[in-house]
Amino acid sequence: MTPDQVSGLFDAGEGFIEGTIGAALVVLWLLALGLFMARPYMAGNVHKFSLRLGADLWWIIYIALRDLFVVQIFLGSFIFFYPDVVTGKELPVTGGLAAVCAFAVLVIKLVKGDSDLRWFRAQVGLLALGATLYIVPYFLGVQVTQIGNDVTNQLAATLVSSQNPDWALAFCYLSAVLVGVLAAIAVGYNLRQASGKARLDLSKKETR
């Protein structure tokens, strides 16, 4: 074994981890979308409990799981903000934009909550858009690179980040800017809530 092969071993390990994250994100997107759409079923079950404790726990677990899946999607998608990773690995070319959709869902939850039906629809719409932006290029791009016919080669050349580095880098930097803007909105909202009248409305003490 040579020193180059040793470093190649660790590079392969890194590639394996990033490829696994890329595949796991498909499942996470489907789970998150599924949990959002399961809301009527979950809300229906709340009324079947004979104890308020059971109903509260059921609802807390549902909300915590559903929202943590969206957070996990965004965190897993962080690899799409790394320029060297998106150009070096076979990943969906629009994965970064999908991450922006997941982050936008979180910001809407923060600012508008879930009780406003219009904004809840916006959350579901963004989640569906994000899932489409991730899953379609994953199945039609990343998963057809070894088929080898003209159609799949053309699809891969467009939808796989390492084969379309110009688009991938443009989406990578654009996604980072959009997430930065959304993060600034979230920080500004928190700082506004921590001052003035808004603070009184959200005082923890009032609720406990």
Partner: protein, 213 residues
Amino acid sequence: MSADELATALTTGGAGWLVLSVSAILPILWSFAMIMHFARPYVIRFLQSLTLRFGGDVWWLSYVLMRDALLGIVLAMSVIMLMPNLYIGLGLPLTGPLAVVVLFWALVVKLVRDADDDPRAFSLVSVLLVIASVLYIVPQVYGLEAADQVDWLGQFGLGGVPAALSATSGDPVVVNGLAWPILIISLVLFALTAAGLFLRFVMRMGRSEAPAA
């Protein structure tokens, strides 16, 4: 390659891979910690919708536990930024050590003031966390993770950005002129903050800590 050389290459390569992996994972942990910190209004809004105090307590303690544990984990993992062999030797994010110091300050504010009920303390912690996260995430993503994009960035006159944001760069390795001053200042500030915190703890020892019932 002899057995000894192979073992050395594997352990040295493994150590470097581990440190660079921690460095690459930290932006994700930072984001998780920031999301939890800034989710406070949402968490409180949901808390108000719960019908039992038991449910409210479970929800609130889970939130606070996760939020604060994440910040502690980020600080613990970020300590590698203060180690010269790793920071200079592996070329970690240039302002990584400063991010550790500012994060430490945010945790100190949480320790000495009640950031959950004092809005000014909450705002101070929030601002410190934003500064610390930017000081870490920007050089990690656009320095270390964009090291191969020099030609592409060069089209826009930004080819020097990755090297400018890393403690060391290039082959042969060149140490960034700001790396040592940043590391030394950070080490001094970290030590002073820790000493101040310890002195405060010692001087206040024995005083009542329990809040009024």
